[in-house]
Each structure stands twice: as structure tokens, then as C-alpha cells.
Amino acid sequence: MGIELIYQKWSGKINEVTIGSESKAVKIGGQNSLPFLFKEGGLPNRPRIAFEIWDVPPQDWPDELRRPYGGVLEDVIKWAERCQEEYKAEIICVRLLGAHPDLGNKPSAEEARLVELLLQKVAVPLIILGCGDDQKDNELMPVCCQAARGKRCLVGSAVQDNYRTLTAAVLADGHNIIAESPIDINIAKQLNILISDMGLAQDRIVINPTVGALGYGLEYAYSIMERARLAALSGDKMLAMPFICFVGQESWRAKEAKALETEFPQWGPQRERGIIWEAATAVAFLQSGADILVMRHPESVNCVRDYINVNYQDVDS
């Protein structure tokens, strides 16, 4: 009995966003098909993994996560170099947490110099994140954008109540923007409209849908992403942006990832548990359409990179 398969044809397409400049630039998005359904449409760009680094030594990272970065957590440049050289990072994501008023309040000019130095030392594309304090970020991000002028970084995060300053800076200096919405498809769309209305091209926007870790609300963002992707493929241009998922940050907050075996003997050894928690969270979000995964543990990154490479082996990188 012959079975006639059902092919879904979509009218919409996800925007292709280019991050970085020159030969190391990376393209994401550009698909007109649901994740991994290669027979139904084009998935021209494989999902990418960014290594998350901080400009101040992280205090609350569990030992398992600090071990691979022994000796470099105090020096963000060395940290970035280790990610690039030893762990073969394709993208580096720097979080300028040290600028936060409660965490050292580093002057914006100092952070801008750091961005400049990073761009000199690191060849791969850069994602630059503010410190999370709106007021400080509105002073900090424009100077950092300027320091990285023309390097086509991905910069974040714009939120519904605070997007103007960042959008203007991104626009002026030729970067891409992260538009963050709290697990809410309407806000995601609204924010994309607001940002586009300021003149930033739609293929300069990446959506951060605010994911939760495996076991910690993963399913909420998972479904929001599926809904947004379906809407985009059906023609909604204001949702046709690639997704960035902060998987590392969420996974390593989970008890299952960081608790020692002595605390929870029934969960078994911590090392594999931590690594798989981050990797499994990442792979789950690949099913709902993640384009950039921001991750922390090099082993987790390795696992997910292998997974992506095997499944995208017929696609040129």
C-alpha cells in the first residue's frame, strides 16, 4: 500500500541574521521549515552555541562548572581565549555584570575598553550583554556599542519598558539586538514592532523568549517558541526572528544540576547530572526552534555540538 506523505508548505520564512564581521561571521535563522524537518523546506543555518563569560568572577557557579575555567575566571580576556582556543567556541557571549551598581559598579568607559580588547583578542563573533540594571545599562550599552562599531555584534537586552536607548545605539553602530520578552508571545511581537518602528531592520533582531531549565518551567517557553515559529512560518513577519536561549544560566540554577551527591544520594554522581541537565535543556529547545544556545559547561557544549553536527551533516556550515 503506497502512503502519500503530508508536506506542509509555509508562506513565511525566518529572517537570516548575520553576527560578526569578516570571515568569522556566523549566520543564523533563514529557515522556512519546522526544526529538523529537512524534507519539507530549507534549514540553511545550523543552530549555534555561544560560550557565556563574565567580566567578574562568578561567585555562585558550582565547582563542577568552575573546574573547566580554572585559573581564568578572574580574567575575562583569558577566559575568552580559553573558550576560543581550547573549547573551539563559535560565538562568545560576554555579560558585563561588573557594571552593576551592586556588583562593583565598574565605570562604563572601563567596560567599553574591555569590549574593545575582547574584539582584538577574539576572532569569533561577540554577544554583549548589559548588567541588568536598566539605568546603568542605558549609560553602559551605548558606549560599548560604539567601542564595537561595525563589528556587527549581538547586543542585549531590550525589554518592553526599556528598548529605546539600546535600539538607538545598535542602529547607530551597526549591531543586532536581543529583544527579550517574559514568556509571552504578544509582548515578543509588540517589542519587535516597537524596535522596527525605530528603524532597525527586521533581520537585525533576535528574540529571547526567556527559557526555563529542564524541570523548571521548560515547557512554557517551549510552547511559546512553537507558537511563535508557527505564526512566523504562516507569514507573521513580526515574529519571524531567530531565537536565542539562555540555557546555561537557567540549567545551572537547577538543583538537579548543582546539588552534590552527598546532598541527594538518590540522584547519583553530580558531574554527569550537571552536564546532561544543561545539554538536555539545550536539545529540548532545539526541538522548539532555538537558533543560538548560550551555554556554560564545555562538556555540555561538546555534547550538543556533536548532536547538531550529526543532524546537520548534509548542510554546509
Partner: protein, 443 residues
């Protein structure tokens, strides 16, 4: 689903005898198509007509039961492609493969390990569902191994053997436990179908492509065998995702009966347990009814069972706990009082940390309709007003002699108004639950 009034009319006796209460067979057929009446009203239906009508009225993806009793596994009866469209109904089964050529001692140790894979998360017990015994050698050894496994676990069983005699002997021993038989393929199904009919057990049908599968299942359906699980064999992950998507689409959108069954995927990668886990993660998200793995490490099972719980949560109904006072530990009238939301994930996270602190405390779960702290606050379900009302309603003041309330750090802004409204002194707790132990100890 599927049959029109005219299709049904063709199956009726066309005598217009009126015994069904309708003037004509056609009128009756029209009502049947709308499912307004039961086909039993016509006493003259042929057996074939009955079977056709029955199979036409079953859901697009048949519900399959493996095992019996409390721990039985029910899979299938899915209705959507994406969970937000309704929900995924029957959590996919997770199973482990045990080789029959292991020694008896090794089998016992493996089963012991698998039996111990139980985890409590957000108020639910998570546990795997199946043990599959795979034949590697002679008939007797397989039967022995099945017997040994059956004696040592209450978990549902799957019998993996293409040896007719071995299946027959094993089924004689364990068919009352409704094991899943693996597998019927194009070479053996004619012979094996008698076994399935005799023992009335669910069966996996295996073929490399959907047309091949369909041919076998259609044959089995015609013989009255309909407790079927589908397997398209070992292939690349993206190819599998495509096939599982097609099986789901064809059964939902085209009522393709011969594919209207749950699917099974075997994920084996002993050399790389991480990749095995990630591949299994893929199929839990994308349409598997059963995922079988070879590894039995705690971390692998914990990750897979947790994802299954996430994916199969009803998106319209967040998991909630009853809004009330929960005493934790040996409380007295001086114990601290913490308030949080009744979203299960929030409540259980707070509970875990309060327990870890070893400081006896009261947790008040406020009714936020299952929203987390920040979401509930934004939606005005967790405000000074609602919290004050909760305190009143639950009568926490009868349990403690003090009037100090600890609120989540994320809603510190509520302090002033809440103090006014409730008359309680407000203490701002940590933002993250992980800060609770040190907070309570230093209170």
C-alpha cells in the same frame, strides 16, 4: 471519524425495516455519521459492517495498554501535533533493554538498579515503565530470563525475540501481565499473528518505511489485531523525526487507520551515554509513545523522566497545590511564616529549601491560580490585597503567636502596603529559593 453518511449507508441492509426507529436506512446512516445514535439500534448489521463502524469511531490514534494493574502503561490517543493546541495526553513510556545472555546475577543487579529509579518531583512520582528482555541465544535461555525478570520486578514487560517457540513459551508464562511483543515484520507476521490472537497481547510491528508498516498493520487489523505499536527501525535521528511527524500527521489529518497507533523508538548508544540521552530527549518531545534505552544511569533516567513530565504537562492547567498552610518540621507558635504561590513548581522548590534549612516553619501557599511569584504579581494575583486576604482566610494567626511574615524577595515592593493591609510585620526574604536555608538560619 472518516465515514460519511453515504459510506455508512452502503454497509446497512437497505431494507428500510424501521426497527432502528428511523424511516429509512439512509436516515439512520446520516444520524450515525453525526454520531447521534448508536449502531446497535440496527439488529441486522453484518459482522463486517460492525467492525468497520467500530474502527471508524475509534480515535485517530488508538489507545494501547501494556501491562495491567496500577503500573500499566497507556499510550496513544493523542489528538494534536503541538502541545499548546490542547495537550499531549498519555506520557510516553520509558523502558530499558536487558540482554538475556547476561548472567542471572547480572540480571538481578540490573533490575535492582532499574527498580530504584524513582524520583519525586513537584509532588509527582516519576518512574520508568518497561523492561524489555532481548533474546541473544537459545530459546530456553530467553524463557528463563523472562521468568527471572518477571519475578523480580512489577514493571511492565516487553519480549524481544523473533523465535516463535521462545515467544510462545514466554507468553505462556507471562501473558497475564499483558507484555508487549517485539516484533512482527514482513517475514514473520503471518506466522506470529496466531500467537498474538491466542494470547491477546499488544504487539510491535516493524518495517523500514511507512508503506511497509501500513501493509502489515492493515493485514493484522483485518484479523482483528489492533493493539499495535509502530517501529520504523534504526535510522538517523532527523529521518526518525520526519517519520514520527508523518505518522502523527497521517493519523490526525487523514485518518490513516493503518498508522493510527503510537510509535516506539529504540535508542541505543552504549559507547556514548550522553548522546543516547540527547537522542531520547528528541523523541520524548517529538511523538514517541515508547522510548527504549540501553543505559540505566540515574542521571539519564532523571533527565528523561523530567522532560517527559514537562512536555506532558497540560498547558491549560498549571500544576497547583491546594492553597493552605503547610507546616514543615516540628513547628511551634514561634516558627517563621513564609508566604509563596500555589504554583507547584514554586511551592515545592520553597518546600525543599525550607526542609533543607532544618528550621521548622510554616509555608502559606496563596491561591495564584498556579502562577509563579513574578507572573502572579504581574497578573495581580499576588498583591498586598490578595496576600492579606489569604492570611485572613487561612487563620495563620491561630497557629503562631508572632506577626512576622516572610515574603519572596521578588515582591519586596509589596512590603509597605502589605504591612498596612495585614497588620503583619513584613520581612523580605531572598529572591531565589536557594537563599532560604541561610536566610532562615540567620533570622
Amino acid at each position: 471519524m472518516g465515514l460519511s453518511g453515504l459510506d455508512i449507508y452502503k454497509l446497512l441492509p437497505k431494507t428500510n425495516c424501521r426497527e432502528c426507529g428511523f424511516v429509512t436506512c439512509l436516515a439512520f446512516a446520516m444520524q450515525l455519521a453525526k454520531r447521534q445514535v448508536s449502531s446497535e439500534k440496527c439488529p441486522y448489521l453484518s459482522d463486517e459492517a460492525k467492525r468497520t463502524l467500530e474502527s471508524a469511531s475509534r480515535p485517530p490514534i488508538k489507545l494501547i495498554t501494556i501491562g495491567e494493574g496500577d503500573g500499566k502503561l497507556e499510550i496513544g490517543n493523542e489528538t494534536v501535533m503541538f502541545r499548546h493546541e490542547e495537550k499531549f495526553h498519555h506520557p510516553c513510556g520509558l523502558g530499558f533493554i536487558i540482554e538475556d545472555n547476561l548472567g542471572d546475577k547480572e540480571i538481578s543487579e540490573t533490575i535492582k538498579k532499574i527498580n530504584a529509579l524513582n524520583f519525586e518531583r513537584v509532588g509527582c512520582m516519576l518512574r520508568p515503565d518497561l523492561i524489555a528482555i532481548r533474546q541473544n541465544g537459545n530459546t530456553d535461555r530467553f524463557v528463563q530470563a523472562v521468568k527471572a525478570v518477571r519475578e523480580q520486578t512489577s514493571m511492565n514487560l516487553m519480549l524481544m525475540s523473533k523465535d516463535f517457540k521462545a515467544q510462545q513459551e514466554a507468553l505462556k508464562l507471562v501473558s497475564s501481565a499483558r507484555p508487549l511483543v517485539y516484533c512482527l515484520d514482513k517475514d514473520n507476521y503471518q506466522e506470529f499473528s496466531s500467537l498474538i490472537s491466542e494470547f491477546k497481547v499488544p504487539v510491535v510491528v516493524c518495517a523500514q518505511d511507512l508503506s511497509g508498516l501500513s501493509e502489515i498493520t492493515q493485514n493484522l487489523i483485518n484479523q482483528g489485531i489492533e493493539d499495535i505499536v509502530l517501529d520504523t527501525g534504526k535510522k538517523a535521528t532527523t529521518e526518525k523525526i520526519w517519520e514520527m511527524t508523518q505518522i502523527r500527521r497521517l493519523s490526525l489529518f487523514r485518518s490513516q487507520r493503518s498508522l493510527g497507533f503510537p510509535s516506539l523508538v529504540i535508542v541505543e548508544n552504549r559507547a556514548d551515554p550522553f548522546q543516547e540521552t540527547l537522542t531520547a530527549i528528541t523523541y520524548i518531545a517529538k511523538y514517541a509513545g515508547i522510548v527504549l534505552i540501553s543505559g540505566n544511569e540515574t542521571w539519564e533516567a532523571l533527565a528523561l523522566l523530567t522532560l517527559r513530565q514537562n512536555i506532558y504537562t497540560d498547558p491549560q492547567k498549571p500544576l497547583c497545590v491546594e492553597p493552605k498552610i503547610y507546616p514543615v518540621g516540628n513547628v511551634n507558635n514561634n516558627s517563621p511564616v513564609l508566604i509563596t504561590t500555589n504554583f507547584s513548581l514554586t511551592y515545592y522548590t520553597v518546600l525543599g529549601e525550607v526542609e533543607a534549612s532544618k528550621v521548622p516553619s510554616y509555608i502559606v501557599a496563596s491561591d495564584t491560580e498556579g502562577m509563579s511569584v513574578l507572573t502572579a504579581w504581574a497578573a495581580e494575583k499576588f498583591t498586598a490585597e490578595t496576600i492579606a486576604a489569604t492570611l485572613d482566610k487561612c487563620n495563620i494567626k491561630d497557629s503562631v503567636s508572632h506577626r512576622r511574615l516572610i515574603i519572596p524577595g521578588y515582591v519586596a515592593v509589596l512590603s509597605g502596603e502589605l504591612e498596612e493591609r495585614s497588620g503583619w510585620q513584613i520581612i523580605v526574604g531572598p529572591k531565589e529559593a536557594s537563599g532560604i536555608p541561610s536566610f532562615l538560619k540567620n533570622l
